[in-house]
């Protein structure tokens, strides 16, 4: 018997596959292509206390083997989010991970407090968005700031908290240790790498925000390296992501040490990507006689 389930901080996902925040909405749109209930968990787009406008357009540009986005965390604020997104998700047979963003520690804490008694399984705290000026990345590249915000959020959170790390740092293990010192129950990584694209014909930045976050298969080797380093440096579960587009990719992250994996940019090219990753993991396990993912996790 093959058991694809994994458990993160006491929350059991029927398979290790979730989605990367911001790439899947809350699943409503992709539900036309994949039954959202098939997913181990849905990770929602980032939500703040009040509605955010996001950045001007163009918000995205294609890059070689990847893309760059500067959406800027547009979101309707927590109240509308609960009414619409959580209302939709709670009817699905999947775990719910809410991605939380804020302009200030208070805003993060405010969202987490508001979610205390809502049907949400895990909180993912996005301290690593490179596309908003205040908040976001500032917390994500300074270990002291990261530890502090983690402990603030942890105090108010009723659900386990996953701190989402930025790859735009010299030493990812230092950040991981800071988050764990602050009380993180789990970690997720990587967020996007800060990039820039110039349209030489228009002599203009390709995204209005000038810089954007690079994601997709192009960044996978960097993500695998960081997941490996973090899994060998701290003892909390890790959700791995960055360029995952196939079951092989997912298994690569699991072998590097990840407990669960997120499919992000791949959804844009292939709306069936999540289902294919789930099926592919099961097929791989069958083929190789693997009964539980524990057998291959962190084997290197």
């Amino acid at each position: 018997m093959i058991d694809t389930s994994v458990t993160i901080c006491g929350v059991t996902m029927k398979n290790p596959v979730t989605v990367a925040s911001g790439t899947f909405g809350s699943g409503m749109e992709y539900d036309e292509f994949v039954d959202v209930s098939r997913l181990g968990a849905v990770t929602t787009k980032g939500v703040a206390l009040t509605p955010w406008e996001g950045n001007p357009t163009p918000r995205i540009a294609e890059t070689y083997g990847g893309m760059m986005n500067a959406v800027g965390l547009q979101n309707p604020g927590i109240e509308e989010f609960l009414k619409t997104d959580i209302e939709f998700l709670k009817k699905k047979d999947t775990k719910i991970i809410v991605n939380v963003c804020g302009h200030s520690e208070e805003e993060y804490v405010g969202v987490v407090e508001r979610l205390q008694d809502e049907p949400v399984d895990l909180l993912e705290i996005n301290v690593s968005c490179p596309n908003v000026k205040e908040g976001g990345i500032a917390f994500g590249v300074d270990p002291k700031a990261l530890e502090h915000i983690t402990s603030q959020v942890k105090q108010k959170a009723k659900q386990p908290i996953i701190m989402k790390l930025s790859p735009n740092v010299t030493d990812i293990t230092e950040m991981a240790r800071a988050a764990v010192a602050g009380g993180a129950d789990a970690l997720s990584l990587i967020n996007t790498l800060t990039g820039m694209k110039i349209d030489i014909h228009r002599r203009a930045f390709a995204v209005a925000n000038r810089t954007g976050g690079v994601s997709g298969p192009a960044i996978k080797p960097i993500a695998v390296r960081m997941v490996y380093q973090v899994c060998h440096a701290v003892d909390v579960p890790v959700i791995g992501m960055g360029g995952i587009a196939s079951a092989e990719d997912a298994i690569e992250f699991i072998m590097a040490g990840a407990t669960a994996v997120s499919v992000g940019t791949a959804n844009f090219r292939n709306p069936f990507a999540t289902a294919e990753v789930i099926d592919g993991i099961e097929a791989f396990m069958k083929e190789q006689g693997i009964r539980s993912l524990d057998e291959i996790r962190k084997i290197l």
Binding site: R59, G65, Q74
Partner: protein, 260 residues
């Protein structure tokens, strides 16, 4: 109206100007449900290019189950498509977006440049709805050489303009509508933003409702990623901010809804 992601076979492709191509795809599932003003996402066969290329439906043949796309080579993706031959295949997602609302009696259709193709299916639909040729005005604006114009002539009164004056009258589509003193009960437009802005003003001045088809860079194409928003006059009901998604809430908006 459900969306499909399919492997479509190329039925035919032809070059209609220096850099504009006409591609017919077998995509029965999509054709079946498509309406004018909607678009499809075409995916590159080269894995280094991940994102969809949104292309409007120029013609929808529900009987044959085919879609016609007319597109200009703008970069590497469209360049790749232009090399496709009958029998080749391409990944297509659609139908996407809302499409035009076709209730009207005396429409004025305005297409500028590569905004012309979606006007063709629209004009055919309006003609099929029973609108007479003399009440169905189509104004086509070109840079310097015309394409598709003849195909409108069967069922619509066609006015041709060009920036250079090389085809039709010199000027743009708004100059034309003003000079011809055309009136109607609905304007439909697709083209570059400055053109849409001028049309919005014209429509406002003349108190004619206008449906404008917008463009924005896209990632998901289905409303999930919030890449493709446009500015709106009102706060969106769900998003709680002044933006709507071109890919899902659009690409067609009423002029008064959007800020250009």
């Amino acid at each position: 109206m459900s969306k499909h992601m399919i492997t479509a076979e190329v039925v035919s492709q032809s070059r209609i100007t220096e850099d504009i191509f006409s591609l017919v795809l077998k995509a029965a599932e999509i054709a079946k449900e498509a309406v004018p003003g909607q678009f499809v996402s075409l995916f590159s066969g080269d894995a280094s290019r991940l994102l969809p290329r949104p292309i409007s439906l120029c013609e929808i043949n529900k009987n044959k189950g085919t879609l016609r796309l007319v597109y200009r080579i703008a970069g590497k993706g469209t360049k790749e498509f232009s090399a496709y031959k009958a029998g080749d295949t391409v990944q297509v997602m659609g139908p996407l977006g809302n499409g035009f609302q076709t209730e009207c009696k005396s429409p004025i259709l305005m297409g500028g440049g590569i905004g012309i193709p979606p006007m063709l299916e629209l004009s055919k639909c309006l003609a099929e709805q029973g609108i007479d040729k003399k009440h169905l005005h189509v104004i086509l604006g070109y840079r310097d050489s015309a394409f598709l114009a003849d195909e409108f002539k069967k069922h619509a009164t066609v006015h041709i303009t060009s920036d250079s004056g090389l085809v039709g009258r010199k000027g743009n589509v708004v100059d034309c509508v003003r000079e011809e003193n055309l009136t109607g009960d609905m304007i439909y437009a697709c083209g570059p933003t400055p053109m849409l802005r001028a049309i919005k003003r014209y429509a406002y001045e003349n108190d004619i409702p206008a449906q404008l088809s917008l463009e924005e860079h896209m990632a998901c194409g289905i409303g999930a990623c919030l890449a493709c928003v446009c500015k709106t006059a009102e706060v969106d009901e769900h998003f709680k901010v002044n933006t709507r998604r071109v890919c899902k809430d659009g690409p067609v908006f009423y002029a008064e809804e959007v800020e250009l």
